[in-house]
Amino acid sequence: MALVAKPTLVVTIDYIDSTGSKGQSVTHLPAATTMAAAIVKVDATVALLLASTDCAIVGYSIATGKLETSTPAPTLGSRVEGRATLTFRTAAAKTAHFGFPAPKGALTAATGGLVSTQADLAALITDLLGGYCDSNGSDLTALIADELIFNRTSIRQRTTDTSPAT
């Protein structure tokens, strides 16, 4: 695994016109720019753009990330359609989901649930409970369910074994 940082922060500015149509313009900042500095720069740019556009600017995003430069071959027969889904309780007493595709066979119980005590899966759950949150910024506090779901799994077909204790 060799995840390599992208060379820039991608700044995407979101516009809306009087018909309700949305548009975006994209620009870049050097990757070494801190988030605090980027926000100051983009706020200043947005203020100037507003003088030149009749559209409204409704927001922007700043994105970066890493690319795998030597992707290992996925296991033959692995499919992204099958997802291990973990359901967490948040500090605000809501639920948040995290899923990953093609779980290894050792993680799957005969009942269709996941074996959350399996060492690798337990390590993942510990990692997610150590600083991750939901989209509202509420911390994940406890795993309350886990199951294996395929893209076309109906509600009736879903396993009843979602207890994280198995």
């Binding site: 988030m35 009749d54 409204a56 990953f100 993680l107 949150c133």
Partner: protein, 151 residues
């Protein structure tokens, strides 16, 4: 001016044995800096590789901001725009910034007038702020601005 959403998203992009791709999404507090979120994401990827038969090809970390009082001018369309073209610090590499919804009054002789005060101010800001092209070459000089129309 803009309000930061409370969580930064991490999108992890997977590839399976058939070449199909899928995404996992999770969040960190948006108050964390780029380096901290990227470090967490890299760590998460290494843990995820132990539990999945698919391969991770990329992850994207994103902070979102919204402006709640934004109102477009009546009768405007985003389809008229201006593409500002900058020389960069690297020879034969350029950087472009597109502005949507630009009034046609900025067009002079078929081009956007880069001497116009508003356009010149944007150009100066892009250069002074250190914006760059996708390869990281920093914009140095506004050399032209082209009107664009999306039918």
């Amino acid at each position: 001016m803009a309000t930061r959403l409370p969580a930064a998203s991490i999108e992890i992009i997977w590839q399976d044995g058939s070449g199909s791709r899928g995404i996992s999404e999770c969040h960190r507090h948006s108050s964390q800096d780029v380096a901290a979120v990227n470090a967490a994401a890299t760590s998460l990827c290494s843990v995820l590789l132990n539990v999945s038969d698919a391969a991770i090809v990329e992850y994207i970390t994103k902070w979102r901001f919204y402006i709640s009082d934004a109102r477009p001018t009546s009768g405007t369309t985003k389809n008229y725009g201006a593409t500002l073209i900058f020389a960069t610090a690297t020879t034969d590499e350029y950087a472009m910034v597109e502005v949507l919804g630009v009034p046609t009054s900025y067009i002079v002789d078929g081009m956007i007038d880069i001497a116009n005060a508003d356009i010149a101010a944007i150009g100066a800001n892009i250069i002074a702020s250190g914006y760059c092209n996708p390869f990281g070459s920093v914009a140095t000089t506004l050399i032209a601005a082209v009107p664009t129309f999306t039918p």
